[in-house]
């Protein structure tokens, strides 16, 4: 998809004014956060498991070449094929080639963020294939020609009336009188329609939550079972995964799985966790005849060894989105590309450039909630700060902002002058605002007072109080 991350501020204004979106986002605050908290409270080892998860991923990244080669060897031994793709375009061409090899028409898909990253659906459609998303949320947004607004709940920005509307518009054989106002009815309708799609599909494409080097297995985690039907029924199963999904062993994946569902939805374990190894075996009654894994780099190998390496530990649980006050207020579309929220604010500039996505790392109050809930202990605020530094170094920030920062730096480097100026301003503002206690409007501070009042300073400044205390203590 064409990124609109550069227009973040305009996107935010639209999102905040969108009443339907705000109603939909309200559902999220009550769900994910409370459930995660309850699940974590039930597992005394949770914090220790986070440490272990971080260690597993760090070890794997330090030996990434070894584990990828081992993974490839074991996939091949199980009768599967591994394809390496440097770029999104290479990955798309590999997938198209596999689809063409069986004259595929319908391609069912399990939910995959990598597929969004390489804009696979638009590409396959342009090539005359029919890609069908089968995760309920992904299916809904595919019908609406929208991008996902959340990495595990792609249609979280919608209310049920909008789902009914799009089903009535696109499911042409739907009897007019059929009630579709409740989630139960909508889910049943999608189930019936998509079941036919599962059965007619020639190729099934899924993502992967893990790749197991030891066994050459790929792992998907879902609640609906759509990923399993996607990969079991067609002739060919294609797994699309980025490099950093590999872990050494089954036991390593198990350790991280104990973190994933709890951090994501607050479940003890997701409904379906499936390990797939190679194509169907001789004598099997079902399963795909061919098994392909497309390994995508798309900029990740270049993140290794940099201040953004830690981001490659991410397991896409969405806890950072769910807990982010910015995400909670504006939803995912405002971020303008595939990955929203704090993880997106770090990852997006790495993948599409800080020139396009420089606004995103600025969209944070640095409250630190994201890092505190991240199961892999990724220092998200620190990395957003790194992006702000790079943005500044590359002169990407707007001129008034840069000039203001330079002016501030001039004073900040001269403490006497700074304190003198600050005290003067505080006294002046204190006197001017004595009656009201706050300012509703202030010259040069319209950005602040546009959304809230500025309290009038009162009493002594921090430095004055500090010095007074030191004198008392002495």
């Amino acid at each position: 998809m064409q990124p609109t991350s550069h227009a973040f501020k305009a996107n935010v204004r639209d999102a905040l004014g969108d009443e339907t979106l705000q109603r939909a986002l309200g559902n999220m605050k009550t769900g994910f956060i409370g459930k995660r908290l309850a699940a974590v409270a039930r597992l005394p080892e949770f914090e220790a498991l986070r440490d272990q998860g971080r260690a597993i991923k760090n070890h794997t990244l330090e030996h990434l070449d070894f584990y990828l080669e081992t993974f490839e060897r074991n996939v091949t031994q199980a009768g599967g094929h591994v394809h390496w793709a440097r770029t999104a375009e290479e990955a798309r061409q590999i997938i198209l080639g596999i689809c063409r090899s069986v004259d595929a028409k319908t391609v069912t898909k399990g939910k995959s963020m990598i597929s969004e990253e390489i804009a696979l659906n638009d590409f396959l459609e342009a090539e005359g294939l029919v890609p069908v998303e089968t995760d309920l949320g992904e299916y809904i947004i595919q019908l609406r020609h929208e991008a996902p607004s959340h990495i595990i709940a792609p249609a979280i920005h919608l209310v049920k009336e909008q789902v009914e509307e799009i089903f009535r518009a696109t499911h042409t054989d739907l009897p007019e009188g059929r009630p579709l106002s409740e989630p139960r009815e909508l889910t049943d309708e999608a189930r019936a329609v998509l079941r036919r799609r599962f059965l007619e599909a020639d190729v099934g494409i899924t993502g992967a939550n893990f790749l197991i080097a030891e066994t050459g297995s790929t792992v998907i985690v879902t609640n609906e079972g759509n990923g399993d039907l996607t990969q079991t029924l067609p002739k060919i199963h294609i797994v699309l995964a980025s490099l950093e999904k590999v872990v050494p062993t089954l036991e390593d994946a198990t350790g991280i799985l104990r973190l994933l569902a709890r951090s994501a939805t607050g479940q003890e374990f997701s409904t379906y966790t499936t390990f797939s190894t190679g194509p169907r075996r001789p004598g099997d009654l079902d399963g795909p005849g061919e098994f392909h894994v497309v390994l995508l780099d798309n900029g990740r190998s270049a993140m290794l060894g940099t201040e953004f390496q830690d981001m490659l530990r991410c397991i896409r649980c969405s806890a950072c989105l769910n807990h982010c006050p910015v995400y909670q207020s504006v939803g995912g579309h405002a971020y303008g590309w595939v990955y929203p929220g704090p993880m997106g604010s770090v990852l997006t500039p790495s993948l599409i450039g800080v020139e396009e996505a420089g606004n995103l790392p600025n969209a944070s109050t640095f409250c630190g909630k994201c890092e505190s809930v991240c199961p892999m202990r990724i220092p998200l605020p620190k990395m957003m700060r790194h992006w702000r530094e790079r943005e500044f170094e590359q002169n990407l920030a707007p001129a008034p902002f840069r000039a203001g920062l330079k002016l501030w730096a001039f004073f900040a480097k001269r403490p006497m002058l700074y304190r003198f100026g600050a005290n003067l301003a505080a006294k002046l503002l204190g006197r001017l605002g004595r009656d009201a206690g706050h300012f509703t409007r202030l010259p040069l501070a319209g950005g602040w007072t546009g959304g809230r009042d500025l309290p009038a300073p009162e009493g002594k400044s921090f430095m004055e109080q500090w010095q007074a205390r030191r004198r008392e203590a002495a």
């Binding site: 309920l136 066994t215 079972g225 759509n226 003890e268 390990f275 190998s301």
Partner: protein, 231 residues
């Protein structure tokens, strides 16, 4: 340079080293060879066999799996028939060709119409065995094979699993160890399904609905043996 070599080169360049030498490669190679279990949650540690079964049932029921506990294998066909009758479900069922399921006297229930094979779209009810059941989270572990088609776990509206008491383990790691033993080495079955409750979605307004694409009902008949009734 081809994509594979270039990606591997790029990884090594970023890590500021060349390909791992023989001695440096022993660290990751040993990690794979030993596949040592990591930290295992303590919630199953002190439980005996019956305690594990109780925890399994409790955790499974929390996620809307239903469980019938029977003492004798001879009671299994009756438990299945009763479950179907109680839910107004047809007595036509598709059963895995798994010889392990031959241990139960299905002929005692002539009204059950049983087909053995993979699932087809019209099938309403499937019956399978399981490889293991993980008490830690109330999770079933099913492995694929010639006589254990995966479609039975996914396509019918109702999935009934017949589980033996000795298949219930504490943590996942015990189940992996059993699988490694059975498969002699690192060879994996084509599919290993970990299933925790019936299919569900919360994609519309975060309201959980069962039966999104997979089974709406997951029922377990747990054959406990004579010690089951000692409570």
């Amino acid at each position: 340079m081809d994509a594979r070599s270039q990606i591997l080169d790029s990884i090594r360049k970023s890590l500021k080293r060349g390909p791992l030498g023989e001695s440096a490669a022993t660290v990751p190679a040993n990690r794979i060879a030993h596949h040592a279990p990591g930290l295992i949650p303590g919630r199953t540690r002190s439980l005996d066999a019956k305690g594990l079964r109780d925890l399994f049932v409790q955790m499974a029921e929390e996620v809307q799996t239903t469980v019938t506990r029977v003492a004798d294998p001879a009671e299994v066909p009756g438990a299945v028939a009763d479950y179907l009758a109680n839910h107004n479900l047809p007595a036509d069922l598709t059963m895995a060709p798994d010889p392990a399921l031959d241990a139960y006297p299905w002929v005692d229930r002539p009204l059950l119409h049983i087909r053995r094979g993979r699932a087809e779209d019209r099938d309403q009810v499937s019956v399978t065995g399981a490889f293991a059941a993980i008490a830690e989270t109330g999770t079933l572990m099913l492995t694929s094979g010639n006589d254990r088609p995966t479609t039975l776990n996914l396509m019918p509206d109702t999935h009934i699993v017949v589980l033996r008491a000795d298949q219930v383990v504490g943590p996942y790691e015990t189940a992996w160890a059993r699988l490694r033993e059975e498969q002699s080495g690192n060879a994996m079955p084509r599919t290993v399904n970990f299933i925790t409750g019936p299919s569900r979605t919360g994609d519309i307004e975060q309201r959980i609905q069962l039966g999104a694409h997979g089974p709406r009902r997951l029922h377990i008949v747990l054959v406990e043996g004579p010690d089951a009734k000692v409570a």
